[in-house]
């Protein structure tokens, strides 16, 4: 049993089911499509009076505007696939075949995480760069956004890293819950339902809780500049998101070894 063999095996697993292709295709199309659509609308309505807040945001935090729509929605496909990568083994029973082949179990989780993270990183990098160059080209006649702008390159790299860690965050929850539907519901709730609800609670404590929520903190690294309401800096936020993921992943590994398969 070698590390290479385990990585090969996980790669065979992930490439040989259709949900991988469909989820990633959905992610790429939704992310690029929505960002392009929003940019086109902004560009088209540039001179109409209602559009001013976007202008201001485009100058201070351009990546939040150009990534916001597309990645905000597209990331749900990453969440779904991250859960499926492990939960589908439990719901189908294939996990038993996997654990019979690798009885120590933890190497399965590590190899699975590595293969998924690399795939997620590569697809996210392509998507983020295409989104960036496409939307900046659409907005070119109104506002000039380039990688050399302050914080822009960090935000672009940050968006890719955020999506990669998000995939692992979803995988950890999938491995903890072991039921596809339940795990997807929890991940999506944590990503898009809980943050705005917590954000509605007034007061500085609630504001801090909101700031430390996994994807709220994690998303900061894809912003060009820190906004007044943000309680963490870009890299601090990313660190908090990574910490959430590490803790969940450790719990997932601990339970994987302890629970009956």
């Amino acid at each position: 049993m070698t590390a290479v063999g385990l990585l090969e095996a996980e790669w065979t697993k992930i490439r040989s089911v259709r949900s991988t292709v469909w989820s990633l295709l959905t992610f790429v199309v939704v992310a690029i499509g929505f960002s392009a659509l929003i940019s086109t609308v902004i560009s088209h309505d540039w001179n109409s009076p209602g559009n001013h807040p976007n202008h201001a945001r485009l100058l201070t935090d351009p990546t939040a505007v150009i990534f916001g729509a597309g990645l905000g929605l597209g990331q749900l496909a990453i969440c779904v696939l991250g859960v499926l990568v492990i939960s589908s083994e439990y719901t189908s029973g294939a996990i038993r075949a996997s654990l019979l082949a690798v009885p120590h179990r933890i190497p399965v989780l590590v190899a699975k995480s590595v293969v998924w993270a690399v795939l997620d990183f590569v697809i996210s990098a392509i998507t983020v760069f295409v989104t960036f160059f496409l939307t900046t080209a659409i907005l070119h006649s109104h506002v000039s956004i380039s990688l050399s702008g302050p914080g822009v390159t960090r935000a672009v790299i940050g968006a890719i890293l955020y999506l990669t860690v998000l995939g692992l965050f979803a995988l950890a929850i999938g491995g903890l819950i072991r039921h596809t539907a339940g795990a997807i519901a929890i991940v999506i709730a944590l990503v898009i339902v809980v943050p705005p609800l917590v954000g509605l609670i007034p007061g500085t404590i609630a504001n801090h809780i909101h700031g430390y929520l996994p994807t709220v903190a994690g998303g900061l690294v894809s912003q060009t500049s820190q906004q007044p309401a943000d309680v963490l800096s870009a890299w601090q936020g990313f660190g908090v998101f990574c910490a959430w993921t590490v803790v969940l992943m450790a719990a997932c590994g601990w339970l994987l070894v302890r629970r009956d398969a």
Binding site: G5, S16, V17, G93, A97, L100, R258
Partner: protein
């Protein structure tokens, strides 16, 4: 048929005081037995007796509360290339339905550092070459069973553990599995196969381990099991049933009425624990007329049901 040598690890399966509880329910109860190489060992018990759980404990999928299970002196987790030592077929549907048969075998081969062609070899072995690239979600239960057997044979292991392998197979498939198991046992491998169908085991297994409610009921050769089970019952028909019953009970044997017993004044009863000649002598000594005295070769199925009657998990007793 196979291109790799049989694994050198000796294939003795040994459980000692193995115990597994799920909540309040004891699934496996201080179970100790040994499964030897070179023969087919049948693992029998009614549904819910704990057969699958025992297999999962041996394979390290479930953790026992106490006791141990070893294969060739090592726990499953201690095997360096498990699939090259032990091949297992558990519930057949334990596959991702969207994956092709070949990809299922390919990823398993990769974990063990086996070449990809090994996947094709075992697909040939079980006759699934033509559907190798088809998604297993569309397979019949019989095809899925064959794929499970292919997966078990992937590492050419010295030990095979098969949980109800005949499930879903047609008669031709059942014969194929039986021949394969006997052939593999003849090569010196350990074959441990569970079933709840006694008649199937009677023609397949050399040795039997019978459990009920997680406890060991019998551990003997199939031959011995058959002889022990079929000798004991005798059908007797007599017009003087009450008198004969007393005589038999006085000898310490058991009597139970057979069929609708007392029609036309002739009682039918089944005697266990007393040989036919002795019943004849008893009847003669008391001048009881016998209309019939027939040693019954109880079917194996009956013997098995009798043996496990007290340990059936789900019975329809209330309906009788």
């Amino acid at each position: 048929m196979t291109s790799l040598p049989v694994a050198e690890v000796t294939g003795l399966i040994e459980t000692r005081e193995l115990t597994k509880r799920f909540g309040d329910k004891v699934a496996v109860d201080h179970l100790s037995f040994t499964v030897s190489p070179g023969r087919v060992t049948g693992f029998l018990g009614p549904n819910g007796a704990g057969k699958s759980t025992t297999m999962r404990l041996i394979l390290g999928l479930d953790r026992p509360q106490s006791g141990s299970a070893m294969i060739g002196g090592r726990t499953y987790a201690q095997l360096s290339r498990p699939l090259a030592t032990v091949g297992a077929l558990l519930e057949a549907r334990a596959l991702h339905p969207g994956r092709s048969a070949r990809n299922h075998l390919l990823f398993l081969a990769q974990t063990q550092g086996l070449p990809a062609r090994r996947a094709d070899e075992v697909l040939d072995l079980v006759g699934l070459r033509e559907v190798a690239r088809k998604r297993v979600g569309g397979f019949s239960l019989g095809m899925t069973q064959r794929l499970g057997i292919a997966a078990a044979m992937l590492g050419n292991p010295g030990v095979l553990m098969l949980d109800e392998p005949a499930n879903g197979l047609d008669p031709e498939g059942i014969r194929w599995v039986r021949t394969l198991m006997q052939q593999l046992a003849a090569e010196g491998r350990t074959i441990f196969v569970s079933s709840h169908v006694m008649s199937e085991m009677a023609v397949t297994a050399d040795h039997l381990i019978v459990i009920g409610r997680g406890k060991l009921i019998a551990d003997c050769s199939t031959q011995e099991f058959i002889e022990r089970s079929s000798e004991r019952s005798v059908l007797v028909r007599t017009p003087d049933g009450d008198r004969l019953r007393e005589l038999i009970l006085a000898e310490g044997a058991q009597v139970r009425p057979e069929g609708n017993g007392g029609d036309d004044g002739v009682a039918s009863m089944v005697v266990t624990g007393l040989p036919a000649p002795r019943i004849g002598e008893l009847a003669a000594s008391a001048s009881v007329v016998l209309h019939e005295l027939a040693p019954r070769l109880a079917s194996l199925e009956e013997a098995f049901m009798e043996l496990t009657a007290d340990s059936v998990e789900y019975s329809d007793r209330s309906a009788r």
